[in-house]
Symmetry: D2
Subunit: 343 residues, 4 copies
């Protein structure tokens, strides 16, 4: 490739934004033109993070979108929308990958239900493709706007997809997702509950049952795969770990399918995927399988003498759960080797 | 109390054995006469643990059981049996609290199924009372031999007991227990999988489904409470935490009972218990609620628009899950104030 | 003891204040009458910490000092002074133990130098005794006002005291203190630098050399012991650990004293101290030696073929470094067994 | 480059060996032909580590050295020697990078003093170049055999080099190195002291003073730089952290040089180095500055009103402290871009 693609990263003072910076810095076809952070504008990146990179951080409005090929938005929910609304029209050729939840819902009402605020540009929702690469690769490759999925939805959907696609889940019972997340998933906010001494040596369930914001996003996408109504129970737990995610998923099955067949089904489903790995034998996915990677590592087993299967689905919440998948989608959108910058 | 009760601690080189030592050292009615550790016999306790207590560790056979009021056994499964068999007859007045699984089962066959070895003294099983204090206090107070429960069973049974007792669980679906344990629960064994660098920044599910040894113990006890057959799915996860345990339990309910009524049921059930606390409002139990205590802290909620309840049950695996409950049982057996040494 | 001593804890929303609450709750001769926290007044303690204790938190001004025997102040530097100024006169019989730095200096100018603000009640400094129990026990037993030492000074002074007292330190070179502290020493402030993801898997030196506020306090007290001028270099490091502290101290020696004699000197110096333990042989103090205790554990060795000794001094920063020592001082001030509530 | 360089990794079951595998897998000019691990031979790499890479692990003797361009040895001290002795003669064109200490000393007697065993091939010592890239780049580029430095020596030498080279250190006092290391530096050995529950929430000094094996290596290399005799005091501390290293180094200075001049000296010294970064202003190096990189990040300050300087030198013990530097040396030895595979 002769010339590099010019990109901007909006919101580089958060953990996902900084991870984007680290990944894109190593990407051979990318030149990072701007990185922004509203409250830290004017500082150097080395003042925000333990890096020696002497890069200037600017305000969102200082970005010159004219020459940009792509913008990555790693902004708080709500804030992403205003930036999209203001920059989308400035450059017809610029593609946007939004890591917030602002354009993940098909329906503005669902957004409003789960995020508790009016959607200010509901008509724009249709322009966005839901960016779970393995599920929507085709549409992503043609998209100008991609809504990058949440971390919990990514781990869950990849973990359940083969069962729903294969029509072997008994959806009369809810799919139960017991999720464990590293603390960077909660963002870089100065709150007492996120202090080291509060998180260390602790496991904290929060927003369990049917209340966490990702619940709606997960159900929306799973229903599309299943082509059927279904119900989930979703229980996230905060772990004393910086990054990573592991969802233990309990699914009732219809028929009498054993572990080796389940594993074969998963392996077959993802056989051409560079970033989804299915464990065989007795191996069970763990945080370490995916840490600092863009991988999704999955294991599945049928519970002995029981109609239930247990899927364990691991991703790095900052990798496949955020910045990594954003770069993967970027590669797909620009026809670059999908693994570039991610191995 | 005029004279103190003389006790021996068998197996003080493990985490639970050392915790017993620390608790009993502070107990006003106890004098520790002997502490044993087979392979470390001859050493001082300060050579085994970061303590300045200059106490001698002896071999099991060096214990003079003649003057003992009680023996605490914190030995590997299998090893406990041989000690019980050899010391039970030496002193009629000595009571035994065994922290191993060797006498927890009502039925030797169940033991053999889950522990994969013949039980060498099956007739002795009947002499032991299952030591979940809140459930069997009366029997424990009259017992000479108490089989202290496992950590996972303790957290699970206390968490599900009110629902089963109240006959509001729909047992046509399995009770799903997603358990998270601190690493001391795995013992103090020099194995690669327990090294710091393997456990740190990791969450590892292991023996999930219907294979972990505690599965049988949990089902045995839950069936007694429910007076009914039932099935569990049990998925333990190793946490990067030294001590603590939290079980997230999914139970299908029969009727239409809301969160406040569930909380009231739990609160009522445990209203006279010094060591079981039920959280109200939106509070959810966490590791920190019970760390370094003998408490069991429980929260319960009805999932929105769903027949399922989620119980979160937290204990310290070395406290209420092992040494703490052993001391609590000791207090009950000797008619001492139940909280002595435990507050 | 017939009636209990009534106490108030000012500032119970911080880590040291909450530790005071936990220790005093178990103290047999104490009744906690009030606990305060300015911004959280009106809440229950269970809303501030993972406890099930349903205790009300009030404003400082709501405390009725009339019936109080003692007040513990665990307030920010500066804030303590105003409370002392306002309550000291309200009840002649009430003793005050202040955990802040406000009354630790003999000289208001030194306070102003290190804390960067005017001291508003310099005349009051003389009323306070510096509360390092092992050094000033006699004066503390007669004091009405005690300034509880900082955590770094406590670990350092106890570690160096025998060398200075014994006149064997060569003070022509500075005493170099490389200090490692658990993160609760930094307080419970919602700051980005204290977030889990910033502290975890990290070691951060801060305020190294001759700038940390405790430098002045350490030099003041060491000079008194040495009866000589001296200079320290003090380099604190933030550890990814909740509580604990370990100072590695490099001291040049005058003569040719070997490790066994150094150990004997330390052992002799602290032979009657219930809370100072000197390790012998090759044992070196670690965080685990003192965690969750009021102990100070010290090891000392002469460097091979070198005039330097290395002292390793460990305390729990919330125990002997704050709340534990405050309770120890309280016991001394009221003629209670010194270890009460602390074993 | 047309064809890739063929390499073997000896000892891939340890942490440094596995890190070598991960780095070399991403290296564009390398093909990994063999990975060995004596006791795990016959297994797949995915059975040893949480990876999905299905690579076979063989015995040392199964390696076909004929076609190899280079061998990386990540074997225990002592074991490396026997492999070097057996493979060095089999292929004249094969270069060897040894990560053990077996060939780091100029003098077999020094090796024997610090490692407590006879050196079996002392004559071979002269064939090896000490592989601290920034110091010996020229010699490394011409070498067939490179002895990769220890982690502590790497961090220390890079931190002190400018002061010694600049002749501004007053070597009448020892250089005091207070070192903090992540636990992977101790290897992947199933020992109780390395278990999670022993290391977590702990800081443990070990082999402090003048006894740790790296002491001799550090002194040997520092003397060469200083062209003078000198003495160090070296105190390593085990941190509850998987990877990383930070040495806080206290050096007495001769003249009156201030912090900005010191920083300028360091910056100048390393101005052309891709992997050494000097922090300016008030920034102090931390573990996070170098984690998961091949960087060495250094800060230096003059202590206020004191002839001492404090250097803080951070590396990743598995990166620049082991596998990273080995790859850097490999690049230098083969004339490849020095940063290849390391950014």
């Amino acid at each position: 490739m002769q010339s590099k693609l010019s990109v901007a990263i909006y919101g580089a003072s958060g953990y996902a934004g900084y991870e984007l910076y680290r990944l894109l810095k190593r990407h051979r076809d990318v030149e990072i033109k701007h990185i922004t952070a509203e409250t830290s504008a004017g500082k150097r990146l080395s003042e925000l993070f333990p890096t020696t990179d002497d890069v200037k951080v600017v305000k969102n409005e200082e970005v010159n979108t004219a020459g940009l090929d792509a913008a990555f938005l790693s902004l708080p929910h709500g804030a992403a929308k205003s930036v999209v609304e203001s920059i989308a029209g400035t450059s017809k050729d610029m593609k946007i990958i939004d890591l917030s939840a602002d354009y993940r819902f098909d329906d503005a009402e669902e957004y409003e239900r789960w995020y508790g605020r009016k959607h200010t540009s509901p008509d724009f929702l249709d322009n966005f493709v839901y960016g779970l690469t393995e599920v929507n690769r085709e549409a992503i490759s043609r998209a100008r706007f991609v809504a990058n999925p949440g971390c919990y939805p990514t781990a869950t959907i990849l973990g359940v997809h083969p069962l729903l696609k294969g029509k072997i889940a008994d959806l009369s019972e809810p799919i139960i997702i017991d999720a464990k997340s590293g603390v960077t998933g909660a963002g870089r906010k100065p709150e007492v509950r996120l202090l080291f001494a509060e998180v260390n040596e602790n496991v904290s369930p929060y927003n369990i049952g049917y209340v966490h914001r990702h619940t709606g996003e997960i159900e929306q996408e799973l229903k599309k795969v299943a082509k059927s109504d279904l119900r989930i129970i979703f229980s996230p737990h905060l772990m004393p770990i910086t990054r990573g995610m592991l969802n233990t998923i309990y699914v009732k099955l219809k028929g009498d399918i054993a572990t080796p067949e389940l594993t074969a089904l998963f392996t077959e489903t993802y056989s051409n995927e560079p970033f989804v790995k299915v464990l065989g034998g007795d191996s069970i996915a763990s945080f370490h399988h995916t840490m600092n990677t863009n991988l999704s590592v999955i294991s599945v087993k049928r519970v002995e003498n029981s109609p239930y299967a247990i899927v364990v689905s691991s991703i790095d919440n900052l990798g496949k759960g955020a910045a990594g998948q954003a770069v993967q989608n970027f590669n797909v959108m620009f026809g670059i080797e999908e693994t570039e910058g991610l191995l």
